[in-house]
Subunit: 354 residues, 2 copies
């Protein structure tokens, strides 16, 4: 028997919202009209992990995501003692926009696999993948407009729509910075944190903001939850970077050092570029100037990361961001169960193995 | 002296709305923060024809479009005796969404030129072009939300947003059909008309619908203008197909037979596939099964088109659609100037040379 440290289990709130999120998602995403339908909905449903490429039901549940963004949105709403159903259309819109960005990311990075399955562009080609991604975006817009069904005032729906659009434009700024960083040799930790606050953080934060806005008009509460969302986003991404290098292959589905081989400038690497000295530094620069990295290169980079304690530093930063998230919520009056769940959530995001 | 038939001049309404459309567009599209800004706004402004690739003011006004969609939207609104300013944010959103789709089209088709200038992906690469296009989409969403500034009820803004999103999803269906047609050998005229009604027609129609909705609650008027928009879209696209083959190079900037060389299955070609007999048919099939077409192939296809009178048939279909557009407006009570302008518009769209 092999024992794996799978880390903390998914907090209960994910289970609590899973059913309604899946139901609303499946209501919002049209099905292909027939097996001859050449439209975008088969690739869209495949990308969401619902069907195989031929349209038959998906065999592996691994191809579905955790639905982090909708969960955060619904949790913020319920923690502030509003029925989370009010926030369901917006929650689902967040998941669709997130998936749209992943689908386009795969085209940009020419990644052949995501979540243990072939990517949309690698099956249907770039042109079809491009429009399937755009369809996901617009299905998300339509889902959001459904907020009005849940007795939310039209003015509020417009405000929610603006928050989501603004955060998506921030995400694009982050994507552009990330592209620029690929060829830049002088990024420091602050540049990197600014980039992830935009690329990953903005959409995570906006989920929390929308859930809050639909529950309360209190500006202080909104500001506190905004800060909570920002810190969660940072903790989430730095942990993601950690797992991209030191994650357990059997759990993440990615080989150790995967992000090194892809020459991805994630936090541990940026940190090492700033801290490594002498021969370590020279090797790092020389390896990252190559077009392809072999096993030996990956090993050497792992040595450099070890030398500068990049692993510990990454986890320290994750833990500090997680702590900041909880501090941000302190002034807000919350029911006991909600505060406990916020703690479980933060603990999960910063120690998760997948 | 060389005399060119430049066809009917651009109707006066284009001039009347040009200033406010340009002003609102420039208000909505952010400028890069500095010359070091690596974000999406430089490629976006370049694509809109405002600046050169280095950010300096554009030298050639040819790189800007006609702004057909905003013009139709504002015209519908004003023809129904509402201040067109109400429709300005939506009009500008239409132009942005249209330009977003062009930017992504250039990636899909790997086209190196558009409107006499290098395309965004050919300068900045596919990943940057992809996100710049997505930025244009979201700037469009933000522009639309500005409708609420013009004293339009939030419920109506949500309705407008739904019309725009729905038409964009139709456009995607059309793009998918178009991709499918590229490799299909049995498309007939009806298939083709269904495809362009989605790919080009839906957004043109939605511009007219939105302008109408912002001016009146009358359902019959809305239905009449919807039909007007549908017919205009078809007339516009078939004339576009005509110009893609028989357009004057000096005016369109494209060589005669350009769409033939690209093996684009536009209306005249689909028509010829349906009508050509014997040797003409065999040659057509054989030429379209090649990967590349030489000058002689293009000449031969032009002969086949001549043989089946594809040129005349295309223009007949454009004229019939133009006529249908005007018939659709007959039951609507319109001021004299508006009816006259609708006629000028239809005449321009069906006989334009560019």
């Amino acid at each position: 028997m092999v024992c794996m440290d799978t880390g903390p289990t998914l907090p209960e709130m994910f289970d609590r919202y899973k059913g309604i999120v899946e139901q609303e998602l499946s209501r919002c995403v049209p099905a292909p009209e027939s097996s001859e339908d050449v439209g975008p909905y088969l690739p869209v449903r495949y990308h969401l992990g619902w069907v195989e490429r031929d349209g038959s039901p998906a065999k592996s549940p691994l191809s579905q995501g955790k639905a982090l963004r909708p969960t955060l949105c619904l949790f913020a709403c319920e923690a502030l003692e509003e029925d989370p159903i009010s926030a369901l259309p917006a929650a689902v819109a967040l998941e669709l926009i997130h998936n749209f960005s992943l689908l386009h990311d795969d085209i940009q990075d020419m990644d052949a696999e995501r979540r243990h399955q072939a990517t949309v562009w690698s099956i249907w080609g770039v042109p079809k993948a491009l429009v399937a991604g755009n369809a996901l975006h617009s299905i998300g817009d339509t889902a959001l407009l459904g907020t009005v069904r849940n007795k939310v005032a039209p003015e509020t729906v417009l405000r929610v729509s603006q928050i989501l659009t603004d955060s998506y434009l921030e995400m694009i700024q982050g994507q552009c910075l990330d592209l620029f960083f690929e060829t830049s040799t002088s990024i420091d930790g602050d540049d990197y944190l600014r980039m992830i606050a935009l690329k990953t953080g903005a959409l995570i934060r906006s989920g929390v903001q929308i859930g809050t806005l639909l529950a309360t008009k209190n500006q202080d509460t909104y500001a506190a939850f905004t800060r909570f969302g920002e810190c969660l986003g940072r903790a989430f991404q730095i942990r993601d970077d950690y797992l991209g290098i030191w994650g357990d292959e059997a759990i993440t589905g990615k080989a150790v050092g995967n992000d090194i081989r892809r020459r991805k400038k994630s936090f541990p690497i940026v940190y090492a570029f700033g801290e490594a000295k002498g021969r370590y530094r020279e090797d790092l620069i020389s390896i990252y100037s190559q077009d392809e990295l072999n096993d030996q290169d990956v090993e050497r980079v792992l040595d450099v990361l070890e030398e500068v304690s990049a692993r510990e530093q990454s986890q320290l930063l994750t833990d500090a961001s997680a702590e900041d998230a909880l501090v941000a919520l302190k002034p807000v009056s919350l029911p006991e169960w909600a505060r406990k769940e916020a703690e479980d959530l933060v603990d999960f995001l910063s120690r998760r193995q997948y």
